[in-house]
Amino acid sequence: MSDKPNFSGSADQKALAEQIFQLMSAQGAFFASDAPIKQTLANLADFIAAQRKADRAKVVQEIDAALSKNDAVFGREEREDDVIYVISRLGAYRPRQEDTAHMFKRRLYEPENPLPVDDISVVVTTTRPALTTVEPVFISDYWQQQAGLTPIVPGDGQLSEVAEPQAAVEPEEVLEPTVEPEEVVEAAAAVVEKPAPAGTGIQNTLIALPNGVQIDLRRPVADLMAQYGPTLVAQFRAALENDPLRRIVTFGNDAFPEAAVENFGKNDLRRIRDYLLETSEPLLDSQIIADIFYHNPRQNDYETFRFALDYRLSREKDFEFVGVDGARLWSTKGMPAIGTKRVKASEMGQLTGYLEEGFDDSTAEQSAESIRSSGMLSHVLTFFEWEYGVLPYTKALAALLPTPLLQDQRTAVLRFESPQHYSSTLTELRYPTGNRGGWLQGLEEFFHDHLVPGALITLARTSEPHIFTLTYEEQPETTDRLLVLDEKKNKFAFANVSYFAAVDEDMLVNQQQYGRLRNLKSLPMSDRRKGDVALEHVFETVGEPVGTRSEPRYEATPDQLFVGLNVLRPASREYLAHLLDEGDEFEQDGERWSYAPPPVEIDEDEDQDDNLYDDDEE
């Protein structure tokens, strides 16, 4: 700022030019020293005419004349009807020149004199991998051209368009031994149809998935999806989840760009939570949208809004997704529990753990495929199922019920309707996790009101994915003495019960068949989850005593043991057979099994062992 340019012209013109330079410099006081400072002739004339109280037209002429004399400092541009003068704080304005002669990028990619290479393998790698893999090693276009692998083409980056694949050097999909020979033939035929020009190189179209599978992008998309569909979807889903920018987000099987997903504020979430608590049962996303956000399904953005709601709720810890594909239900903290509280979830998971251990014979009579296709499942209730209103999540039940929509989904809420009683029951399906089995709970009230252990029930799908029907075959009233659990005394007893359902007589736990079960102890759940402990107690109770006081021994049939064991805990026949085979104290004798408890010291003063008495034998 201190070194002002020299101005030329008459004394008045010099003074005027200097005044205008100072004015414009003050205007651009905070500009870079070489940045352009512009001002119009009209503005300058207005200011100076007002300052001098002179005629504006005359001032215009004076300014124009003075600045024209100093055109080395004042750049002049004519734009439409006005004239613009340009200076910089240094004096005349000169556009900045970018010096790009020494950019690192240029030095890295465009070597002026690359070193000569005699052997291309020296460039590829200097070390040999321990294991031979087909992992491609990057060779720059430059060296490929030098080695004669690809032709030198004018321009840059147009290499792949020219090069055609050659059958002789085409890489094989080595990680996929199931490649059909026909494809190779087809590929070869295609190459024959399009002969490669002389001197062409490799066009690499193999891409490697993160799990190592290589796919050839020359194959049609439909073929790739048919062969690798599940893998591709799984890998793509994993890639989306691992994307640090989260550009595409998913909910269930739907995907949408995150940037386009609507946000919900705290107030919105509070309203949803309050509404769920008010209704006291999980609600569909569509219902939440209609009742809280008044969004209409006919609106164009309805599906986007619905996705946004589902996705945002899935990210909130206060909400839990309990829906299935086609019925997206939401629950929240503080809602009433569904199903029995008498068995804890952790205990129930262990009780049904035998299913995950492979002792699931539920599809022996009705295959999973027939259940899936017919949408119906018949099942005979055991005592434990009837008492606690739970159904173990067997393969048969899994074939009927929907699978979880989300990967980390633990529960789904399903509704069971009874067309015979015009009632419906909300149930909770707990999916298996790790070595803990799954189960369906919440049917306690319905079972106790209408059914008995041994009843044959039929579960069937409806048009709604989360609604099922529960039916049974009705029959004239029957009264029998059936096993019941006295909760207050925590003891089993037989009581007169009237029922109207068709039953499997062998599974009906009545006094006539299973009178000894009155002596069964209602073991704590911690003991019941140990299959061998429960079976030993059941054996001692239902088994026929054939030993002596000092060497007790019991005999029972597998059917008796199956019914007895299912009083204490859920168990399959396969699991029972496994327990009998594994236990050292159990011995098979024809169709019957015997059990000799390990010897224990008997206190003479103690009362007689109850098990030796068979007062219920008729």
């Binding site: 491609p136 990057f138 792949s160 368009e161 066009q203 690499n204 179209t205 193999l206 891409i207 490697a208 998935l209 993160p210 992008l217 020359r218 998309v221 790739l224 999806m225 569909g229 591709l232 979807v233 890998q235 793509f236 889903r237 994993a238 890639a239 989306l240 691992n242 994307d243 550009r247 595409i248 998913t250 909910f251 099987n253 739907d254 995907a255 949408f256 760009p257 940037a259 386009a260 164009n300 953005d301 599906e303 986007t304 996705f307």
Partner: protein, 50 residues
């Protein structure tokens, strides 16, 4: 583009995002993978020329 430079689930994802945004609605992930493969095919220049 050489296929060896393709990272599945990363390369061409921006293009897929544009396609998805243009559709205006959430898409099934299987359909999206198919579209993504098409994008990759275009990028490596394997689209059949007819």
């Amino acid at each position: 583009m050489d296929a060896k430079n393709v990272i599945f689930g990363e390369t061409g994802l921006e293009k897929l995002v544009q396609v998805l945004r243009a559709s205006g609605q959430p898409q099934d992930i299987t359909k999206l993978v198919e579209r993504y493969l098409e994008i990759l095919r275009e990028m490596v220049g394997t689209e059949e020329k007819r």
